[in-house]
């Protein structure tokens, strides 16, 4: 990642995180305030419900008192308590309830026998438990009727007649009209759920706002378990149709939870405000990112671009373009840095020229030294032989002839030696161009191994050759003679490196682009310096030798567009790694 990208990223992150933090804090605080307001609204609605319930209770208790003093009830009380016929009054509860505008009215004898029932007229003669509700008060009361249960705000009134008494159980149904008396502010909801059945049904849910029962289930479950609870409920698929609902369990006269008051407050305003805050935050963040980009571009123009140019120039130098230069546009620290860089590359170019020159001189010197050394060896016998001939001219002819014969033989031998030396140098200078043909590298390796193995195995210090050749190695475009020479050279070098015997390993391998040949020995190894100079012409670590062997090897490999490298450590042997392309540039040889 470039410096400019990092700067852009940094500035963007700083802007986004900063704005995000502010937006989050504002949102958090807003939510807290809203929740506080919601709670106040809920409390007000709950208080309103309790007030409504208290008024309803008082009204019911008073109504029952009126009914109990009516002549009809007095008559029924008299008949019921004096063993009279109560069949005449089967329908009276219904008509009385209608007359006094109540929904529930049961006329019950002291033993619980229903004389007349308004809510379930057919139930006369059956028994019911008289609710234990204190006189003058009312309570939620759940009563079984023909098609289920009804929940009412009910009171009980005792009607005495002589020594006996009957009871009136009356009340008003807790139904939709009960909630209609509520003054519910906009954005607030009130539901009342009646636990009339084990399962949840829509019929038992009261409230003007439609809501799916499954949505309310969690809070209803809590309320049913006599726990107040609250939750945030999604009323519909509309994103903002969410409500904070508080569920308050309501117990009936038997102490069981008969209903749950659900007070809800819409979260739409809060969600809309939060969305608004988010929108603003996103806007500011987007704007901030744009500013960051601008600032980054400006800073890049001022700082990072010169640095990038310096980096590019450095990369060029690393790739060998030592004369890379950087444009100097300022006089500040970056300008000075650029100038220093330019000066440095200038010096590098100059030093390189000098180095090349020095290397050339050194090479010529080395060549002269080698040539002198090589030539000096045969010249000395030549000189001795010639001097012997000069001294032998005074000897008798028979001795002279013998010496002459010996001297001429020596002269011819040494001259031949000189010729051979000159021939080797000539060969190096005139390395032939490779004649490429599809060749099996494995075959070449095998041939070389077979050539040398018997001799090495039978030597006083035996050397073994181990081959690890990749079977699927394809044919390569090679000059078989030159590569054979390369491998032989490396094998002979390895033999020289193991005067005490050892093992020569030859491996071949391949990948998608190239083939690899590794020739390793278990000899004395090379130092780091020796490795560095190993391929220099005329350099040798051996007592005899021209120092051209590895130079020729490198030259041949180079002519095959390959590479050679050496890996070695003292006393751990040496490995020569040759990499050859699977196909030579500009030609197409089918793999076989």
């Amino acid at each position: 990642m470039s410096l400019r990208q990092r700067m852009l990223l940094f500035f963007s992150v700083v802007v986004v995180v900063g704005i995000g933090m502010v937006a989050w804090l504002v949102s958090l605080r807003t939510r807290a305030v809203f929740e506080q307001v919601d709670q106040q609204r809920s409390n007000a609605l709950v208080a309103q419900f309790r007030g409504q319930f208290a008024r309803e209770s008082s009204d019911i208790a008073q109504t029952l008192q009126y009914i109990s003093s009516s002549e009809r009830i007095q008559r029924i009380a008299y008949e019921a308590t004096h063993g009279g016929d109560t069949s005449l009054y089967v329908s009276d509860a219904g008509s009385l309830a209608q007359e006094f505008h109540i929904d529930v009215l049961d006329i019950v004898t002291s033993d619980g026998t229903i004389v007349s029932s308004a809510s379930w007229p057919a139930r006369f003669g059956y028994h019911e438990q008289i609710p234990t509700i204190s006189a003058g008060t009312a309570s939620l009361h759940r009563q079984e009727v023909q098609d289920g249960y009804i929940l009412s705000v009910a009171a009980v009134q005792q009607v005495s007649s002589g020594e006996g008494s009957i009871y009136l159980v009356g009340g008003r149904k807790v139904d939709a009209s009960f909630l209609q008396a509520f003054s519910v502010p906009a954005g607030s909801y009130v539901w009342l759920y009646r636990f009339n059945q084990p399962q949840y049904t829509n019929e038992d849910l009261l409230g003007e706002n439609p809501v799916a029962l499954d949505v309310l289930r969690p809070v209803l479950d809590s309320a049913r378990a006599q726990q107040e609870s609250s939750g945030i409920l999604q009323l519909s698929s509309e994103k903002f149709d969410r409500v904070t609902v508080q569920a308050i369990p309501l117990k009936d006269d038997s102490g069981e939870v008969a209903a749950a008051l659900l007070v809800g407050t819409s979260r739409a305003p809060l969600l809309q405000l939060q969305k608004h805050i988010r929108t603003i935050a996103f806007g500011i963040a987007g704007f901030g990112i744009l500013i960051s980009i601008g600032a980054t571009l400006w800073i890049a123009a001022a700082f990072s671009r010169p640095i990038e140019k310096l980096a590019e120039a450095s990369q060029q130098v690393a790739l060998g373009e030592w004369n890379a230069q950087v444009e100097v546009n300022s006089s500040d620290e970056l300008g000075q840095l650029a100038e220093s860089f330019n000066a440095m590359t200038q010096q590098l170019v100059e030093q390189r020229g000098k180095l090349v020159q020095a290397e050339r001189v050194a090479a010529w010197r080395e060549l002269a030294r080698r040539l002198a050394h090589e030539l000096k060896n045969p010249l000395f016998p030549l000189q001795i032989t010639v001097e012997n001939l000069v001294r032998a001219q005074h000897l008798p002819p028979e001795e002279f002839n013998e010496i002459f014969q010996e001297s001429t033989a020596t002269l011819l031998a040494e001259l031949a030696n000189l010729k051979a030396i000159i021939g080797r140098f000539s060969d190096f200078s005139k390395m032939p161009k490779p004649q490429l043909q599809a060749t099996s590298l494995n075959e070449l390796v095998t041939r070389v191994a077979n050539l040398h193995a018997p001799q090495l195995k039978n030597s006083p210090k035996p050397i073994s050759i181990q081959l690890a050749l990749r079977d699927d190695l394809p044919n390569l475009e090679l000059d078989p003679e030159l590569i054979h020479r390369v491998i032989s050279n490396l094998v002979l070098n390895a033999v020289d490196a193991m005067p005490e015997g050892g093992t020569i390993s030859i491996q071949t391998s391949t990948d998608s682009d190239s083939a690899k040949l590794v020739v390793s020995d278990s000899g004395t190894g090379l130092t780091k310096e020796e490795c560095e100079r190993l391929f220099t012409p005329y350099y040798t670590t051996k007592q005899h030798g021209t120092g051209l062997g590895l130079a020729i090897v490198q030259s041949v490999i180079s002519d095959h567009h390959g590479s050679i490298m050496v890996q070695s450590e003292p006393r751990r042997g040496t490995s020569f790694v040759i990499t050859l392309p699977r196909t030579q540039p500009g030609s197409a040889v089918s793999e076989g």
Binding site: L88, V90, S91, W120, P121, A122, F124, G125, Q146
Partner: protein, 444 residues
């Protein structure tokens, strides 16, 4: 002398009172009789209907067929062929003569009748069937077989002593004297029938003198005794029964429901002890064998029948909308059934099919065979083979009750409340109240 004077005085007073009394009960011509009814249609259930529509025959108090539009009749081929001689000179309310061919056509177009064909030969109507048609002459006295048609003015036409003069659908119908009636003129000049009046309104109206005659259901009869009206009743002439729908196929379920019902409570509380519990379709006074049918609640038996089944699908019992007593009875029956383990829900009849229906049915005739045949028709039950003798009637009725296709519950009285000014209305044993001799004392 004093004794003579005293005798004269007493005699004079007695005569005066007798004359005055005779004067009070002597029929008067003229006046309007005001009838109110809950029904919204003017049909056979209205006491005024026979004033408009007549039948071929009538039935006297002993249950014998008597001539009306037919002067005489004759049964042939073992009751497979009946001939009725039409009364001559009878006219429709539009003045046209009653034609035997037209009457034959009217009868031939009817369904659910015992005869296969009806044809006329001169003034003789000939009813024929492949099977015997016992007591056809008595059956034809039923108001269902009244001879009526719809006139060009859209009003109901008959041959009775009164004709329809005004008709406001579902509201009111007025009858006036038909001058060309073949029989004697009615004492009344007119009859006004208010349709669709609520029971409460009817009782109120008759209480304050705005109505002269209303039918009083049994459930309020006890309370109405104290009202300033005259109540006339015919005991045990209205059957309350449950009819099962054909989809409740398993007899044991029907029997279970039947055994669970507490008829006494229905009678004593809902119908205020008016009438009697019924185990048979026909009342005891008519057949003499009705007491052989069980009427007690048999809850244990009901539970055992219920427990035969792993589960019984919830059932519905329909009741006529607006009939509070039957609604309450249906609810009580549902409660009884629940005690036995059945789930029965009462629902008002509004065209939807229900598993069972609670209904009232007037005793059609005071002739047992005719009454049973007509009730069987009414409940759509196959009566089986019966020739009208008491034993075969019992067997037929026993089959129906045993299979619980119909559960007879109660027999209630048919009662009429009349104002004091109305005279000449006599409720017959079969519950009808003919008005042909009715008159009002003061002309309004």
């Amino acid at each position: 002398m004093r004794s003579v004077f005293r005798l004269f005085a007493v005699t004079s007073l007695s005569l005066s009172l007798a004359v005055a009394g005779w004067g009070r009960t002597r029929p008067h011509y003229g006046g309007t009789l005001r009838i109110e009814t809950q029904r919204q249609t003017f049909d056979q259930s209205s006491p005024a209907y026979p004033l408009v529509a007549e039948t071929l025959t009538g039935v006297d108090d002993e249950g014998n067929a008597v001539p009306k539009l037919a002067l005489r009749w004759e049964s042939q081929s073992g009751d497979r062929r009946w001939q009725f001689w039409l009364r001559p000179g009878v006219k429709w309310h539009d003045g046209t003569a009653l034609d035997a061919a037209e009457v034959a056509k009217l009868f031939a177009g009817r369904t659910g009748v015992p005869w296969r064909t009806v044809r006329e030969v001169g003034d003789v109507l000939i009813f024929e069937s492949d099977v015997p048609m016992p007591q056809l002459a008595t059956r034809l006295a039923l108001p269902d077989y009244a001879i009526t048609r719809v006139g060009e003015n859209g009003l109901l036409q008959g041959t009775g002593p009164m004709k329809v003069t005004y008709w406001l659908p579902k509201s009111q119908i007025k009858l006036g004297v038909f001058e060309n009636y073949w029989g004697p003129r009615t004492f009344l000049d007119s009859v006004e029938v208010s349709l669709g009046r609520g029971l409460r309104d009817q009782l109120l109206d008759i209480g304050i003198g705005r109505a002269d005659l209303v039918q009083v259901p049994a459930e309020i009869l006890r309370r109405s005794q104290s009202d300033p009206v005259r109540i006339s009743s015919a005991e045990n002439t209205e059957l309350v029964a449950i009819r099962f729908d054909s989809r409740v196929q398993d007899e044991r379920i029907r029997q279970g429901i039947a055994a669970s019902i507490d008829r006494s409570t229905l009678l004593n509380f809902i119908f205020q002890k008016q009438g009697s519990v019924a185990g048979a379709l026909l009342p005891q006074w008519l057949t003499g064998y009705a007491s052989l049918f069980p009427v007690q609640q048999r809850l244990q038996q009901a539970r055992e029948l219920r427990d035969i089944f792993n589960s019984v699908a919830p059932m519905t019992i329909g009741y006529p909308a607006g009939d509070g007593a039957l609604q309450l009875a249906a609810e009580r029956i549902a409660l009884n059934a629940r005690d036995a383990g059945f789930n029965v829900q009462p629902v008002p009849l509004n065209g939807t099919r229900t598993d069972m229906t609670i209904t009232r049915a007037n005793l059609p005739s005071q002739v047992p065979f005719v009454a049973l045949v007509e009730l069987a028709d009414r409940f759509d039950i196959d009566l089986g083979k019966t020739d009208g003798d008491p034993e075969s009637l019992y067997r037929a009725e026993n089959e129906i009750v045993k299979s619980a296709q119909v559960i007879p519950l109660l027999y209630l009285p048919r009662s009429y409340a009349t104002r004091d000014r109305v005279q000449g209305v006599r409720v017959r044993q079969d519950g009808t109240a003919p008005l042909e001799n009715a008159f009002v004392e003061d002309r309004k």
